[in-house]
């Protein structure tokens, strides 16, 4: 067993080295002066605000869909459930670029015209960024919540009902609090993917400077225009900011878990 442990540890160390070497190559490519210059630039500040705003909105909409979907899929058995679950997984298996291409075609046709008539435009607009992030992250958010919902015994629901709670009260006061960990994990996973989303965003919302410019799009535009300093320093700042937010959110969550 000790020998097996040692071999497993070697794999762990090798993988950590691979990750750290990749990330540190980015950090070594820039200096504090370039970082500060980028951080103060209008374009970076736009992409920072825009990324945080779109990822938060898409995460919220995703959560709104994921909780009821996860509840239905975890608590009920019905004909065609497996097929529906497979359909739910399509955005996970499909490359985001292909997924974005599909919606580019969809919104470029009659469906897009219908939405435009009521003033909603997905293609090449900030709304398209939110939609691209939403469609990519929802299966991840939903799957995390579904797993934790399915682990909550149906008997807890029954005991709540026998204590005089309505079905909705049982959901609000028993299921959601018991699923808190899974929901949090789903949110973290979803947000991380939303902030890093590139392929689907590029296809649906395009790469327009100061309009649909999320962090990844900013990096892409930097490379495309030959401004490597801006691209690399944006990447570095994106890593630092994402980590800071994750640590703060995780810390706040763990302080709130009291049982």
């Amino acid at each position: 067993m000790r020998k097996f442990d040692s071999i497993a540890q070697i794999f762990l160390i090798v993988f950590v080295i691979i990750v750290v070497s990749g990330v540190s190559s980015l950090f070594l490519r820039v200096n504090p002066y370039i970082l500060l210059k980028t951080f103060k630039s209008k374009e970076f500040l736009f992409s920072l605000k825009f990324s945080l705003l779109t990822s938060s909105i898409s995460l919220l909409i995703s959560l709104l869909f994921s909780i009821p979907i996860a509840y239905v899929l975890s608590k009920n058995d019905f004909l065609g459930k497996e097929i529906i679950k497979d359909i739910m997984d399509i955005p996970i298996f499909l490359p985001p670029l292909v997924l974005g291409l599909a919606y580019l075609i969809l919104f470029g046709g009659k469906v897009g015209s219908l939405f435009e008539k009521i003033g909603i435009q997905f293609l090449f607009s900030p709304l398209g960024v939110v939609f691209a992030q939403f469609i990519v992250i929802t299966p991840y958010v939903e799957r995390n919540i579904e797993v934790v919902f399915s682990k909550i015994s149906k008997r807890y629901e029954f005991i709540g009902k026998s204590m005089g709670l309505s079905d909705f009260e049982v959901f609000k006061k028993i299921i959601i609090p018991l699923a808190k960990d899974g929901i949090f994990t789903g949110l973290i996973t979803g947000w991380s993917r939303a902030i890093a989303e590139f392929g689907a965003t590029l296809m649906i919302a395009g790469a327009t400077k100061m309009r649909t410019e999320t962090f990844p799009i900013a990096i892409f535009l930097g490379i495309a225009s030959g401004d490597m300093d801006f691209a690399v320093s944006t990447g570095v700042l994106m890593i630092i900011i994402s980590f800071l937010i994750l640590f703060m959110v995780r810390g706040a969550f763990e302080r709130n878990v009291s049982y």
């Binding site: 008997r155 005991i159 709540g160 204590m163």
Partner: protein, 350 residues
């Protein structure tokens, strides 16, 4: 109070079949059965966990067969208590905007636990909290699912006494599920014995104890001496022949195949024959001292078990291998109808 009429429900491969029973107001009613007999399924069906398509459940003259559990007014204490881990004891008890009832809290001695989380409580404390959670809602009916199964043997009797006190204090109607016959004897006004999703017998503890109506009920109540025999009617009762060698006389009447049951404590051992009826000579096979009681296995052609007090055992001074005479009074021999569906080991034939 509670009336169940022709209730049948299927749950996977198991089903409750044609359950009929009524529980009176203020009654302590016990459902006794082995694991897998359907006791918990029955209890949870009464509480409203499952949708019923066949039969009726009526509580206080109102049909509640398929109404939402929250509207039934039934308190339920599950076997594993199911306290919500994310809530304190106080929040668990008052969930659903119920006011805390100081009397219940004081009576169950849980005031000092109110700010704690369930994970920090002992089994006994969890049980008292689960009871408080049910009692605080003034239930019309209290359902208790194996309330002592996870407690140490030494605490069980204390809990029995407490349950008896609670029932009297809060004037409750209780349905209590258990596999422990002693527990059922101690607490119940009436007992229903369940087997394979059906009710085998309903009666007072004395009726169930003394006159089991089936071999299964007899075994569940601790009767080890159950023999298959053939009855021949007599003016005063009947003679039952076992293995065509041993003839037992009983005041009960039966003809043809029948089960004969004798409670071990009614098998009296003595050193010498007195030429009385139902006297048999045999050999002591095994002696097992069990504290206040001593258990004997006696071979009289069949193995028969006798229980006697440690004091009587001392006076008789018997050892394994000794010859002994045993006597059973005719009034202590009970006959059970022969069940063609059972083989000699009491296992159902296909």
């Amino acid at each position: 109070m509670l009336v169940i009429e022709n209730l049948s429900i299927k749950f996977g491969n198991f089903s409750l079949k044609d359950i009929n029973l009524s529980v009176q107001k203020g009654e302590y009613f016990t459902v006794l059965g082995t694991t897998g007999s359907g006791k918990t399924l029955l209890l949870e069906t009464i509480a409203g966990r499952y949708r019923v398509s066949n039969g009726k459940i009526i509580l206080n003259n109102t049909e509640i067969t398929n109404i939402h559990p929250k509207d039934r007014g039934i308190g339920y204490v599950p076997q594993d208590y199911l306290l919500l881990p994310h809530l304190t004891v106080y929040e668990n008890i008052t969930l659903g905007k119920v006011q805390l009832d100081e009397e219940v809290i004081e009576f169950l001695n849980i005031k000092h636990l109110l700010n704690r989380h369930p994970s920090t409580l002992s089994q006994g404390e969890k049980q008292r909290v689960a009871l408080a959670r049910a009692l605080i809602r003034n239930p019309k009916l209290l359902l208790l699912d194996e309330p002592t199964s996870s407690l140490d043997a030494s605490i069980k009797r204390v809990v029995w006494k407490n349950l008896d006190r609670i029932k009297k204090k809060f004037l409750l109607t209780v349905i209590h599920v258990t596999h422990d016959f002693e527990e059922a004897l101690f607490l119940s006004d009436r007992i229903a014995v369940m087997k394979n999703g059906t009710i085998e017998q309903i009666g007072t503890p004395k009726e169930i104890f003394t006159f089991p109506r089936s071999k299964f009920v007899a075994e569940l109540t601790g009767i080890e001496n159950i023999f298959e025999g053939v009855g021949i009617l007599n003016k005063k009762g009947s003679f039952v022949s076992i293995n065509q060698e041993l003839n037992f006389f009983t005041y009960e009447k039966a003809e043809g195949k029948v089960y004969l049951s004798i409670r071990p404590e009614n098998v009296v051992l003595k050193k010498y024959k007195e030429n009385k009826i139902n006297e048999f000579e045999g050999t002591v096979v095994k002696i097992l001292e069990k504290g206040f009681f001593v258990r004997f296995d006696i071979d009289i052609g069949v193995n028969i078990v006798s229980l006697m007090s440690a004091k009587d055992f001392e006076e008789l001074n018997l050892r394994a291998g000794d010859s002994v005479t045993l006597e059973i009074e005719p009034k202590n021999i009970h006959l059970i109808p022969y069940d063609k569906n059972l083989n000699k080991e009491g296992v159902e034939n296909d």
